[in-house]
């Protein structure tokens, strides 16, 4: 490696440099928000670099100091694809550092999200420390409890007290440090007048501790300290597994990640980068090729071809003329344009759409199985405990009454129950992940199983932007076709290439005077004829169908329009099959923002009773979902683009279908990679199977509880019994859920081999 770069001083591939792209990093206001640490001499900054993919990347990034002496130290994190760089800001500016990284092919991804990084930091360190303490105490108290379980001779009795006190000492850090989260969570839940699963857990832990303390202080018994430590240890390990499974899907993206951090502001002819938040109405902005229009603005200069795929999902650029309004979220393709801001960023169309009440960043309230169960569980547990206690009081045996009461709360502690959900669901989550279906959290999987109505958007969802199917409106002779294809061959525009492939094999003719008007069309002389290909306006069609623009190419020869090539909506290959297998169990509907030129084709694909709605505004889509929900449906919405965001969020489950996973829409509960669209029926079936696994594991855990409780209410539960039963039930549940989930995944053909 070392030698490779020694012999080859100049890296093989050089990125096209775009001057001024990182100018905004010179602005102190922006730079300060990006850096982690800064003193008089050095600055520390962490970049997210998506390009990291092999050990050579690590080598190169960790040897930055060789490329530039101002870099003191750089350390990469392969799994998170991050690089932490320490550099002397006296010799190297942040902007130059970023430019350096880009030059060697590792352009960092800098978005507003980095600037607003408050919620981004995720650390398991605290949890790991708690597990360590719990594990330490668990092991030691286990060791000290063994003599008690094996029985001790009378002369060893003095040790029993000593062991008891030692054990008690070990429970203290577990209770006060490791188990603290359960108490706070239970307390919050009670304050909101709800009973989540943490309530009986916290209750169980508290009672365990109280009884242990009492037995040790009064010298009446060994207590349950090893059970308590073990319980907390297993619970924390379960929580750790759960967090680890899905923290890598950094789902905390919002619409801000679509916008560039800074924009170029033009004041009196001088360009200056300013932070997004500083944009004012009336500002003049420069938007270059590939940049996103940050706010609603009027086009002042240049040819705007705006790609609104972020907003509408339509990938065909929209042509805008001078004086027209360009809405925020569009991406300029082609030359640089100048805009005048009409509305500041926060009031923009997108943000307004966002701020609609349905988009409010409220906590999505899924009614998960364990939430429902835990309410009844806690009540039932308390009832049993109190009735057992009152029974023994009635019998006049107050010691046994307290014994039974605490034993019920201890043995009823839903440790296995608390673990079954997280373990099953996180296993399912990783299986979905592997099949390119990225579900936001475990609750969404349970929601997936409850869905009975599916609503699809059209563009980008059931149609794929990759493979187009075409037909020609009008008539072309073989000669004319040859002419059109010969001209189209000169252009790299997707539609030109589409025309070439549609034309098939024709003998190319000599072309002269070729001219391409970016975004409009192409023109050339072939065999003495003037051939023009392009949009309606370019070839001279008077009544061009504006709605269909971008998906059709007009062909004109000698000023006479011969017809046009229509690229019809290319459906995803397995669409009919997917709809067929879903139709038996689900209600299917279509809501599209497009016009209804494909209605007939879709009618054939969708079941007869489906609604096919076209020309819907985003707000109407949202209303439609709401109507379905009012009719008692559990609605799952499939869509893409920001204008579906409302509907996605309103739906019980919003799934964004994306062919480029980086472009997914916020506000959704899951992201489906377009390539996995055909697996949809399997995903739904698997989600239902997962729910079944949870129910079964819940049944098993209840069985354990029933056995334990029957001893507990008799007041005959020994500490040894509790110490064996509780880990045993936990281990059973964990292994059952893991095995069962995998088996179902194999059965549904979501993983290939049982390994």
């Amino acid at each position: 490696m070392q030698q490779y770069y020694r012999y080859n001083t100049y890296p093989g591939k050089k990125k096209a440099e775009r001057s001024g792209r990182y100018e905004y990093l010179d602005e102190a206001a922006i730079a300060d928000k990006l850096v982690d640490f800064k003193n008089e001499e050095v600055t520390v900054v962490t970049f997210y670099i998506p390009a990291i993919h092999c050990s050579s990347c690590i080598w190169l990034l960790e040897h930055l100091y060789k490329l530039n002496t101002a870099v003191v130290r750089s350390q990469s994190d392969f799994m998170k694809k991050q690089v932490n760089v320490t550099f002397k800001h006296g010799e190297l500016s942040l902007r130059d550092l970023v430019a350096l990284l880009e030059n060697i092919g590792y352009a960092p991804k800098i978005t507003l999200q980095d600037v607003i990084k408050s919620a981004r930091k995720f650390s398991q360190r605290g949890l790991v420390a708690k597990i360590a303490v719990a594990g330490f105490c668990f092991g030691n108290s286990m060791m000290l409890s063994f003599p008690e379980y094996f029985g001790m001779a009378a002369f060893e009795a003095k040790y029993a007290t000593f062991f008891g006190w030692m054990n008690f000492a070990f429970t203290l850090p577990v209770l006060l440090y490791s188990g603290r989260d359960y108490f706070t969570s239970a307390w919050h839940s009670l304050r909101q007048r709800q009973l989540n699963l943490d309530v009986p857990l916290a209750l169980g832990i508290a009672v365990l501790f109280a009884r242990t303390a009492w037995e040790v202080f009064s010298g009446s018994g060994p207590g349950f300290s090893d059970t308590l430590c073990g319980l907390v240890f297993f619970l924390l390990v379960g929580r750790w597994v759960q967090q680890r499974t899905y923290h890598h899907i950094s789902f905390e993206r919002d619409y801000r990640s679509y916008f560039p951090v800074a924009v170029t502001h033009i004041v009196a002819g001088v360009m200056k980068p300013i932070p997004l938040a500083d944009i004012r109405v009336g500002d003049r902005l420069l938007v270059r090729n590939g940049e996103i229009v940050p706010a609603d603005a009027i086009l002042l200069k240049g040819n705007a071809d705006i790609d609104f795929s972020f907003v509408t999902g339509e990938s065909e650029p929209v042509r805008k003329v001078l004086g027209e309004v360009i809405y925020a979220g569009g991406r300029q393709l082609g030359e640089a344009i100048e805009l005048e801001v009409m509305k500041t960023v926060s009031q923009s169309y997108l943000t307004r759409l966002w701020n609609n009440e349905a988009f409010k960043p409220h906590e999505r309230k899924f009614r998960t199985f364990s939430n429902v169960v835990s309410r009844y569980f806690t009540l039932a547990l308390l009832t049993i405990a109190v009735s057992a206690m009152s029974y023994w009081f009635f019998q006049g045996n107050s010691a046994k009454a307290w014994g039974a009461f605490t034993a019920v709360l201890i043995i009823g502690c839903p440790c296995a129950l608390a673990l079954s959900g997280p373990f099953t669901l996180s296993a399912a989550l990783s299986i979905f992940d592997r099949n390119r279906f990225y579900v936001k959290n475990t609750a969404a999987i349970e929601q997936l199983a409850a869905i009975d109505c599916l609503v699809f958007d059209k563009t980008g969802t059931i149609s794929s932007p990759n493979a187009a199917r075409m037909h020609f409106d009008g008539e072309l002779t073989a000669d004319e076709l040859a002419m059109a294809v010969s001209v189209a061959q000169n252009s790299s525009h997707p539609l030109s290439r589409a025309l070439v492939s549609w034309g098939g094999s024709v003998t190319p003719m000599r072309v002269s005077g070729f001219r391409e008007v970016t975004g409009k069309g192409i023109e050339a002389i072939v065999a003495g004829h003037d051939v023009r290909l392009g949009g309606g306006a370019f070839v001279g069609v008077r009544h061009a169908d504006n709605a269909a623009q971008g998906s059709r190419v007009y062909v004109a020869i000698d000023g006479q329009v011969k017809g046009c090539l229509v690229a019809s909506q290319p459906w995803r290959p397995q669409l009919a099959g997917v709809m067929d297998s879903l139709a038996t169990d689900y209600e299917l509907h279509l809501v599209s923002g497009d016009h209804d030129r494909d209605k007939e084709q879709l009618r054939a694909v969708f079941p007869r009773k489906s609604d096919l709605l076209f020309n819907r505004l985003p707000i109407e889509k949202l209303e439609y979902i709401r109507t379905l929900q009012a009719a008692g449906k559990e609605v799952c919405m499939f869509g893409d683009g920001l204008n579906d965001a409302g509907a996605l969020k309103q739906a019980n489950l919003g799934v964004a279908v994306s062919d480029d996973i980086n472009n997914f829409s916020p506000g959704c509960d899951a992201v489906l990679d377009g390539r996995s669209f055909a697996l949809l029926p399997r995903f739904f079936a698997f989600a239902k199977a997962v729910r079944k696994v949870i129910h079964m594991s819940f049944g098993i855990s209840l069985m354990y509880n029933a056995v334990g409780l029957s001893f507990a209410v008799m007041g005959t539960m020994s500490p040894l019994f509790a110490a064996v039963l509780m880990p045993l039930s936990t281990v059973t549940i964990i292994s059952f859920t893991t095995v069962a989930t995998r088996l179902y995944a194999v059965k549904k053909q979501l993983i290939n081999n049982v390994s």
Binding site: M1, Q2, Q3, R6, S55, I58, W59, E62, Q75, S76, D77, F78, M79, K80, S123, R125, V128, A129, A132, V133, F136, G139, N140, L144, Y159, F162, M166
Partner: protein, 65 residues
């Protein structure tokens, strides 16, 4: 038999030292990235500059032969 008190005290003390060591490792972020260091250790050390001076065109030719 009272040696047991001493021995248990010792064992707990040693265990506490390990716990403290684990805490230190955890706090300094040694568990944050468990993959990159395994690759980093495989990188070659700095190659001595002398090697370059020794290696002249004649040597390379010999090596080829």
């Amino acid at each position: 038999m009272s040696a047991i008190f001493f021995l248990i005290g010792c064992s707990v003390f040693i265990a506490l030292i390990f716990l403290a060591a684990f805490f230190w490792a955890n706090k300094t972020g040694q568990h944050d990235d468990t993959y990159t260091p395994s690759i980093r250790m495989l990188f070659d050390d700095e190659v001595e500059e002398i090697e370059d001076k020794v290696r002249n065109p004649a040597d390379t030719e010999k090596a080829v032969k």
